[in-house]
């Protein structure tokens, strides 16, 4: 192993770190908003809305993210004249925009199922209690359903964040030089795959370690502190690990 190479490659790969983080952050924020919307549609009593949400989730969970990214980035090229006419081509020609769109739609689909599970786990008695004290539907959602659902969904959402960190590496296939993109470039030109892999892998593991700890911390602070509640939280975490 070439130890001098480490000193050379660490700063080169670190240059991709902000891009990876930014890509994940943008997609997670937009994806979460989309997911709440889709989850509510899915739970709505309107068959059209819930059917549409079901179809969206089904399609995006059953196809590889790579196809989704390529459909947005390369696929939009097929409609270039049309997109130019309506003034959207400036967006679709931009790889970053396409990556964020694809990642947002993808995480939106997965996260909506996580949120739906959380919302469905809210005990009915709590909603009745809220109604009994005269809360409006909005207040009920904002003050009872949403906080409990989020707490319930937190471990599974933590997993989803880690999957997104890994998924952001696919942006390298459409010319974005985040960590994996830079790693591939260095490997292809220097043929030192092991050294580059160790550094790039360490970056990803570090990000995921921080995410895991942050989720743990949030979970602890959002949870009631009784021993029973802690045991339930531990059980949820175990289940979330098994789920993916």
């Amino acid at each position: 192993m070439d130890f001098a190479a480490f000193a050379r490659y660490v700063p080169e790969l670190a240059a991709g770190l902000p891009l990876t983080l930014l890509l994940v952050a943008q997609s997670l924020v937009l994806g979460f908003a989309l997911a709440v919307l889709v989850a509510l549609m899915r739970l709505s009593s309107n068959r059209l809305l819930s059917g549409f949400a079901y179809g969206f989730v089904y399609v995006f969970r059953s196809t590889p993210l790579l196809v989704q990214i390529f459909l947005v980035y390369y696929g939009s090229g097929q409609f270039r004249p049309f997109l130019e006419d309506i003034g959207l081509w400036v967006f679709f020609r931009d790889a970053w925009f396409c990556a964020v769109v694809a990642l947002t739609l993808n995480t939106g689909a997965y996260t909506s199922e996580i949120i739906r599970g959380g919302i469905q786990s809210v005990p009915y008695g709590q909603l009745e209690a809220g109604r009994a004290v005269g809360m409006t539907r909005l207040a009920l959602f904002r003050r009872i359903t949403f906080p409990i659902a989020i707490r319930q969904a937190l471990p599974a959402y933590g997993n989803e964040i880690i999957l997104m960190v890994k998924a952001s590496s696919l942006a390298s296939t459409i010319t974005i030089l985040e960590i994996t993109g830079i790693a591939k470039k260095i490997i292809a030109s220097t043929f030192q795959p092991v050294e580059v892999f160790i550094i790039a892998g360490a970056f990803y593991l570090a990000i995921n370690f921080v995410v895991t700890q942050a989720i743990r911390w949030a979970e602890y602070h959002l949870s009631p502190k009784s021993p029973q509640a802690r045991a339930r939280a531990e059980e949820r975490r175990q289940k979330a690990v098994l789920a993916r």
Binding site: V59, S62, T63, P64, L65, L66, V67, Q68, F70, L71, Y74, G75, S76, G77, Q78, F79, I162, K166, A167, S168, S169, L170, S172, T173, T180, A183, K184, I187, A188, F191, P193, V194, F197, A200, G201, Y204, L205, N208, F209, Q238, V241, L242, A243, R244
Partner: protein
């Protein structure tokens, strides 16, 4: 969109795309089988009484689950090729260029990831077999092998089935990543067709539909298997 592009034979890309789907399915099955073997071994290590075995298994699953599959593919593809060439020139004096067999490389990479995820599934399934049953088996004088085959295996298979169904789902989807090293499966074939016809949307849409078909179809298979495995179980 010109659907005649999807014609069978020389006129269109229909047969090529179908062949791509067969390759995708083949590599997914191979990687999944490898993943279950690796996962079973690692689960046994995680549950073993020997601490170093547990540590190795934990490090493996943590690292593989925390690093993008694409990075692992680049490592094995470029690193494996270099290692193979070093062995060839060092041991056999062969100085030519050797390429890794990409089907095998892809299978190993995706299988490595499937193995890490199925480890957790299998470990959880083993742990959900009630301890009393093992004690009862010991009490009636079953040997270790008998306990394994008669008590553990049938129940672990049933408990692990839903989780392993999940693992299959993303193994199938992850095979699309192997297209970056040139294996002509669905994605690569779609890219080739898109390049020569200048209709990328059409062909990536076809690719998406093929994946959708494969996952829906195999989902149904797993549902059936679950029903079959649970046929003697009383429902609450």
């Amino acid at each position: 969109m010109d659907l005649s592009l999807l014609a069978w034979g020389d006129a269109g890309w229909g047969d090529q795309m179908a062949r791509g789907a067969v390759v995708t399915l083949a590599v997914a099955v191979a990687a999944y089988a490898l993943g279950i073997v690796v996962g079973t071994g690692l689960a046994a290590m995680k549950l073993s009484a020997i601490p170093p075995l547990r540590w190795i298994a934990t490090v493996y699953t943590t690292v593989i689950r925390g690093i993008p599959e694409l990075l692992v593919i680049y490592l094995v593809f470029f690193g494996g090729g270099a290692a193979l060439r070093a062995i060839a020139s060092g041991m056999f004096g062969y100085e030519g260029y050797i390429d890794l067999p990409i089907f095998l490389t892809g299978t190993i990479c995706i299988g490595a990831s499937a193995g890490a995820y199925s480890t957790e599934v299998i470990r959880g399934a083993v742990q959900s077999v009630p301890k009393g049953q093992i004690e009862a088996a010991i009490a009636v004088g079953m040997s270790k092998a008998q306990r394994f085959w008669r008590i553990l295996v049938p129940q672990v298979a049933r408990f692990a089935l839903p989780g392993l169904g999940n693992v299959w789902q993303f193994t199938l989807k992850d095979t699309s990543l192997i297209s970056v090293i040139g294996l002509v499966e669905i994605m690569r074939q779609a890219a080739i067709a898109a390049g020569s016809t200048r209709e990328p949307f059409t062909f990536y849409l076809v690719a998406a539909i093929l994946y959708l078909g494969l996952t829906s179809f195999s989902n149904r298979g797993f549902d059936r298997a679950e029903r079959w495995a649970n046929r003697g179980v009383r429902r609450a």
